[in-house]
Amino acid sequence: MGCLVARRFKSFEGVRRVKFRGSWLWWGMALLGLALLPREINEYYIHQGVLIAIYAILLFGLDVVVGYTGEVSLAHGALFGIGAYTAGILSTKTAWPFLATLPASMAVTAFFGGVLALPALRVRGPYLAMVTLAFGTIAQILINEMDFLTNGPLGISLQKPDLWGHALEESEYYYVVLAIFFLTGFLIHRLLISRFGRAFEALHGSPVAADCMGVSVYRYKVLAFVVSAAIAGLAGSLFSFNELFIAPNSFNFELTITFLLALIMGGRKSRLGPVLGAAIVVLLPNILDDIQLFRWLAHGVMLGVLGLFLWRGWKQGWNHWKSWIIPGIGALALEISSHRLQDMTDWRLTIFGALILFVVYYLQNGIVGWLRQGKPAVTEADFPLSGEGAVQPVELERRSVAQTTPGPLLQVSHVVMSFGGLRALNDLSCELAPGQILGLIGPNGSGKSTLMNVLTGLYVPTSGEVRFKGQRISGKSPTRIALRGLARTFQNLQLFGDMTVLENVLIGLNHRYRSGMTETLLHLPRFVREEKAARARARVLLDFVGLAGEASREARHLPYGQQRLLEIARALALDPDLLLLDEPAAGLTSAEIERLIAVLHKIKGQGLALILIEHHMDVVMSVSDQVMVLDSGRCIASGLPHEVRHDAAVIKAYLGGGEEAQHAGN
């Protein structure tokens, strides 16, 4: 048994790999069933089946942007259209073979995905959603207007796809699409469980922290859009060979909405969700066409809502009756409209809209999330840590054990940081030697956190310069500064809340990978080696801060004190030469503070340089070699801890300037 555990543990992806293997059987059976399907059903349903597979392919890609990076893309209908038109134009105007048009479409849409992501450097959330909407609108206008290329509103008719001189029948095309569907799903799965998927998720969790962990938000957001767009292009080109006719109004805003509905209804961050969602949105119009079936559905919803209401009320009391008003009205409206209307087809979009509202508020994790509810996915806790072979000695690693350049590690000279009229840092200079621990104290608003943000590149100083390991870092991006060996934690925790504790640390270890995307997708040896090493290293770091037992918990479920420690572990994962800790003890209980002090001493023992902002004097005084006091953006005192404690100016800054204060100091 122990041997079995150990062997399974060698699977470098740990949890996710195992999870995938468990469902491997199901996917295999699904493949077999789908392969036999064309024998049983008529041509119309085969056509619908191909459409489901095509939509599912697109949704795999949409999930990268919407599920993982958490942005709303309203451009995927248009990207799908661009892919379809690329295939259509290439195969009608230049007679490219079918198989060659697929990568061409992917390349074209990948390019547009990159263009689309360019503003993503500056904007996110609703702004980015509007950017994608504007892009989609422009694309539709251009497809409509550029009739020399696209035939304008008349559309393009295609020949049946041709494979080595043989025109594919519907059922044969079904197999081609099915194969591409499984291949895409497989590769996307590998991408999303790798460091790339983790980086995408980190952008959503906390962009600032991602940047400061050496995971460039911009780079990975562009990458996510490019991958997502390329897959949309693939799906689009398959679509045009399935329909054999494409026109501009097939790729409108409604299509985008349909895709989004399918994804969030099926379930984000899952491979099964897109398939379910695609099946629902493709088959739903068939249900709406059949008014009788629709009425039964309305009855079902009505009874379901009523049943749930009564059951919940009986179980948990009737206090929450108010939250049932809207579902009740919704079900009633559905029931009435199903009897009043003879034809639901025209109301398709209203139904879609209502479904989106329903999913957003009552089924946030989609059908897949609902099915998984209460039954947590297999986690790493299933594999006891003792199974991890040889326990590695806990030791921090650093970029450069010996200083390559002589002189101070960090050199801040005459830094000024103004916000409008306020000078948050006013001509500040200081130095830090390798391995030195600097305690940074000062009243609130004295510029401590501003200094941190300047050092890590989040703010560009108004004037002055910062040198780290002999090189100028002021003006460089946070990512580059982080990768040079300067790590930090945040005063207001910036963890990647939806990710596990282990994955949080793995984000910090992203810099250790040399393997690229191809190696990741194909699981080439270097990638396998690096992934194993990173996971082992992450466990060592968690052990270092005392969180080894929590590796598979979601970070947001950790107690507050442990979240602070996790931030330290994540920062250490960068293998920094200098670690900045911004109020690590804030909000901690005294027991937790003791644990923190112990960890700080361990870090100190490893010879890592540290800047520590803290209000808890016992923490500062027990750890620091030097203490610097800031007030109004200036350094008012610095020296050994006990000297600073008795400095008159410091006491004045903290207690206000009076004679008594000075006496109190003496």
Binding site: A134, F135, I138, L357, V360, F490
Partner: protein
């Protein structure tokens, strides 16, 4: 030369419409940090209900144009309250940005689809309340309604500024926009203020709808592109600057009429959208907006 003057004046009228809609975006963004992605549909509903009251489409006319406007404003603000209640409030409660983006989009397509089923899918003309013979200004032929649009838009924006500056309710709105938490602690019912801002936002959109309808066509799909371009205007000017909305509106309106004339009407929406992409890539706080310092 005359052509250019004419294009500029028409563009100004159009731009003022955009500015009015952009004001609506600004008001909800200020109080709650949210935007109604169905703002264009609020405009469309204003225009369509206006047409039902003054036109023959629903067996009317029931009211003349001037009496119709206040009715439309009331209906518009009710629609805003519905949006706030169904789409925004639940999302703010669960702190879900994805939630309000998706649910305002969903409500938008529901409104549009309902309008398609109630009023049909075709664009129809809207009877103009002012004479339709052009007047001559600076050698250009201008429709009186285009002047009416400018006057109406300025009037509405002026009233909103006055409301914000001079009344206690306006101060509550301003207080909520500058710090929702603190305003709440001072006894301001911030939820009511947010609901009010949505009512105001849809009201301005509905007003823009009845203003622009006589100089364009009215139909269920008229709103979506207008809403998007008005967002472009709000972004160009900066989501926090009223002056910016006017300037942004004028830039976009004039760019649009000139493109439509010198290139092709098919491309007239393109410059505004490209401008939106460029501004967001280059200066996301807009030409007049101020960047807030982010704290970490």
């Amino acid at each position: 030369m005359n052509i250019l003057t004419q294009l500029v004046l028409s563009g100004m009228a159009l731009g003022m419409i955009y500015a009015v809609i952009a004001f609506g975006y600004q008001s909800t963004f200020a109080t709650s940090g949210t935007l109604n992605f169905g703002q264009g549909e609020a405009l469309m509903l204003g225009a369509m209900t206006g047409l039902s009251l003054t036109g023959e489409i629903m067996g009317g006319p029931y009211l003349n144009y001037w009496l119709m406007v206040p009715v439309v404003l009331v209906i518009g603000s009710l629609q805003g309250l519905v949006v706030e209640f169904l789409a925004v409030r639940p999302a703010l409660r669960i702190h879900s940005e994805f939630g309000w983006i998706m649910s305002t989009i969903a409500l938008g397509i529901i409104f549009r689809n309902v309008a398609e089923n109630v009023w049909g899918r075709d664009d129809v003309p809207f009877p103009s309340p002012l004479p339709t013979t052009p007047v001559h200004i600076l050698g250009a032929n201008i429709l009186p309604m285009e002047l009416g649009v400018m006057v109406g838009a300025l009037l509405l924006m002026g009233l909103m500024e006055l409301f914000n500056r001079r009344t206690l309710y306006g101060k509550a709105v301003v207080a909520t926009s500058s710090d929702r938490g603190a305003a709440g602690l001072m006894g301001i019912d911030t939820r009511a203020v947010i609901a009010f801002s949505y009512a105001l936002s849809s009201l301005t959109a509905a007003f823009a709808g009845v203003l622009i309808a006589p100089i364009t066509l009215t139909g269920a799909s008229m709103g979506s592109v207008l809403g998007l371009k008005a967002f472009a205007v709000a972004i160009i000017g900066g989501l926090t600057s009223g002056m910016g909305a006017v300037v942004g509106g004028l830039i976009l309106g004039i760019a649009e009429t000139t493109t439509g004339f010198y290139f092709s009407t098919g491309y007239k929406d393109v410059p505004g959208l490209i401008l939106l992409l460029l501004i967001l890539a280059w200066k996301p706080n807009g030409l007049f907006g101020r960047a807030a310092v982010q704290k970490f």
